[in-house]
């Protein structure tokens, strides 16, 4: 606990440097290389000096207007530069403290302290950055923090049972790779690479050769395209096979350990309590064969790397095998049949949402291109089917402290979220929904880079109410 403090005056220098870094490029563009640049070295220097002074003044103001304190278990920072802003962070929410020493800090024997809370990386800035404080001050903050941590975390139990393990089977690895639909990526990647070598490779000559080849007939072109497609498909498949070969999940004590890779092995350890949600996805290619993909959302924090917020737990698994495995790996998550669907009166809302795009599109095409436009009726058929699937697939279920929400975008997604991991629950009702006593429900969870949302549209109002009551009794 301590009263409001300022940073060390050296902070004004680091602030100044930050401002300078921001203006150096625009400055160069306008005053040095710009068309209306001032004539003569002297006036250029004068402008440069002016910019320097201005940034120094800003640096000092920033330093003067910033203060921090720790009171009643809360970290408080205040700055009143243009906008008066206070930020309070409870000490036991602080995730990590990072003490570093840059060149400027080293000159004055100071440190800079970075404070991060979970999911606090909406922007790339850390939650709190104390640019220049003495080492004693930094240690004082760290000791305040470790005190609160000791109060909250209990003892860790060291029981080790037989670890559940699951490895992706060979056959499934190939099905997974083959049905992943990443051919497009390989194609565009190849195109980008080929364009890079435009200077070196004599494309003109190659194409001239091709022209005579193409002239020989349409069949040749089709054959050529087919060959390219197969090649790209094979490349994508091999790439994914290499990446996901030996995909294994192992549960060890309170951690899940994920390993995969043929040549380049990757390993990821996720503590069970960092898991925020489980998502079971069925894409259009795999659903008919009864295969699903299971994803995990977890709070990685900035330290664990931001890209890792969502990870494939089981790349491919038969839908009927998933529940038993998930129960073994994720105790506390109930994986059950979702029994509560939507009331029949919400079907027409699903239909309207799809048809309001496809019908005008179809009508326009039919009007513009007389006989062939009729083919666009297929859009209406697809969208009707899609709407019906969306309506049929939407479902929810509450079991103990788990909420399951299922909905279809293109793939069908089932989110399973524990109550303690739902950051916010939103219930929407538009004017038209109110008339029919329908609500949409959205549950938000952490997923590292930003929130992940599970949304089921047009639930019965009473069902939405039930979920709300369950969430906040």
């Amino acid at each position: 606990m301590f009263k409001s403090r300022r940073l060390h005056p050296v902070a004004s220098i680091t602030h100044t440097l930050k401002v300078l870094r921001g203006i150096v490029l625009p400055y160069l563009i306008v005053f040095v290389f710009g068309e209306n640049r001032p004539d003569g070295i002297a006036s250029q220097l004068l402008f440069g000096l002016g910019a320097l002074c201005l940034s120094f003044i800003i640096g000092i103001i920033r330093w003067r207007s910033f203060s921090y304190s720790v009171q009643d278990g809360e970290f408080l920072i205040e700055h009143s530069f243009l906008i008066r802003k206070k930020r309070y962070i409870r000490l036991n929410n602080i995730h990590s403290l990072d003490i570093t020493q840059g060149i400027i800090q080293r000159l004055f024997n100071l440190v800079s302290l970075k404070i991060e809370t979970a999911g606090g990386n909406k922007s790339k800035e850390p939650e709190v950055m104390l640019e220049a404080i003495t080492r004693q001050e930094a240690e004082e903050i760290a000791s305040l923090l470790s005190k609160t941590e000791q109060e909250t975390t209990g003892s860790s139990d060291e029981e080790s049972r037989e670890d559940p393990v699951h490895t992706l089977r060979f056959r499934e690895l190939f099905i997974f790779a083959g049905s992943s639909g990443r051919v497009g990526i390989v194609f565009s990647g190849a195109a980008a690479v080929l364009l890079q070598f435009q200077e070196v490779v004599p494309y003109k000559q190659i194409f001239r050769g091709l022209e005579s080849f193409a002239a020989a007939g349409l069949v040749n072109i089709i054959l050529l395209l087919a060959a390219a497609l197969i090649l790209a498909y094979a490349a994508a498949t091999i790439h994914i096979v290499c990446k996901f070969a030996h995909s294994t999940v192992r549960k060890k004590n309170e951690d899940l350990i994920l390993t995969s890779g043929l040549f380049e092995k990757r390993q990821l350890t996720i503590p069970l309590k960092k898991i925020q949600a489980v998502k079971i996805s069925e894409n259009l290619l795999r659903q008919p064969f009864g295969y699903v993909t299971v994803y995990l959302y977890y709070a990685g924090g900035a330290a664990a790397g931001k890209g890792n917020a969502r990870v494939m737990l089981l790349p491919l698994i038969k839908a009927h095998q998933a529940p038993a495995l998930l129960r073994a790996f994720l105790p506390g998550y109930s994986v059950e049949e979702l029994r509560n669907g939507l009331p029949s009166r919400s079907l027409h809302r699903y239909a309207l949402r799809q048809l309001c795009f496809s019908v005008p599109l179809s009508a326009g095409l039919i009007y513009l291109f007389s006989p062939w436009g009729l083919a666009s009726l297929v859009f209406i058929i697809i969208s009707t089917f899609w709407a019906y699937r969306g309506y049929r697939d939407a479902a929810w279920q509450i079991k103990d402290d788990c909420l399951s929400l299922r909905f279809r975008a293109v793939s069908r997604h089932t989110y399973i979220i524990r109550r303690s991991k739902i950051q916010a629950l939103r219930i929407d009702s538009s004017f038209f929904q109110q008339k029919r006593e329908l609500n949409s429900i959205t549950a938000t969870v952490i997923s590292g880079t930003g929130p992940a949302r599970a949304k089921v549209m047009d639930l019965d109002e009473n069902d939405a109410w039930t979920i709300k009551k369950w969430f906040a009794p």
Binding site: Y88, N92, T117, R426
Partner: protein, 157 residues
């Protein structure tokens, strides 16, 4: 069963001012179009349309939206959760459990300051929720109350 509390009625004026300031951008674009059409060969109807749009935008931003926005704005801070309701045509009701709250900010821009108001921003690990335009003292009290109640009871995150 709506949330109990309304935000300050002065919010309407704040939104009118900010709506007006925002619509100045549209007027600026329209004025720019006039200058451009004087300099270059641009059809005369383009600036005219832009002016009509700017006028309509101003009317909507200043006279229509603020009073509609405040109509459904309600909030309630209970012991265990915060409930916020807002929206124009789609009414969104958000529940945030107290224990999920990570930090609370109060914010006061120049317009809010002029009316003696302040807004409260409640952040969880994944979301941010704003209660705009509360009386300065009320915002401070709310801020204090939420940080007092929102003591995390488990190490979930």
């Amino acid at each position: 069963m709506e949330p109990k509390n309304q935000i300050s009625t002065k919010a309407v004026q704040v939104w009118r001012v900010s709506g007006f300031l925002f619509s100045l951008i549209e007027w600026g674009i329209a004025a720019g179009a006039v200058v451009l059409s004087a300099l270059f060969d641009i059809p005369k109807w383009i600036p005219v349309v832009l002016f009509i749009l700017a006028a309509a935008g101003t009317v909507i931003a200043v006279f229509v939206l603020p009073s509609l926005r405040i109509k459904h704005w309600r909030y309630e801070v209970r012991e265990k959760e915060i409930e916020i309701q807002k929206g124009l045509f789609v009414i969104r009701r958000t529940l945030v459990p107290m224990v999920r709250v990570q930090h609370v900010d109060t914010r006061q821009g120049p317009i809010l300051a002029k009316y003696g108001l302040s807004s409260v921003e409640i952040s969880t690990a994944a979301t941010t929720h704003e209660i705009p335009a509360l009386d300065y003292m009320e915002a401070e009290q709310l801020r204090k109350y939420i940080s007092l109640m929102a003591v995390v009871e488990d190490d979930d995150v």
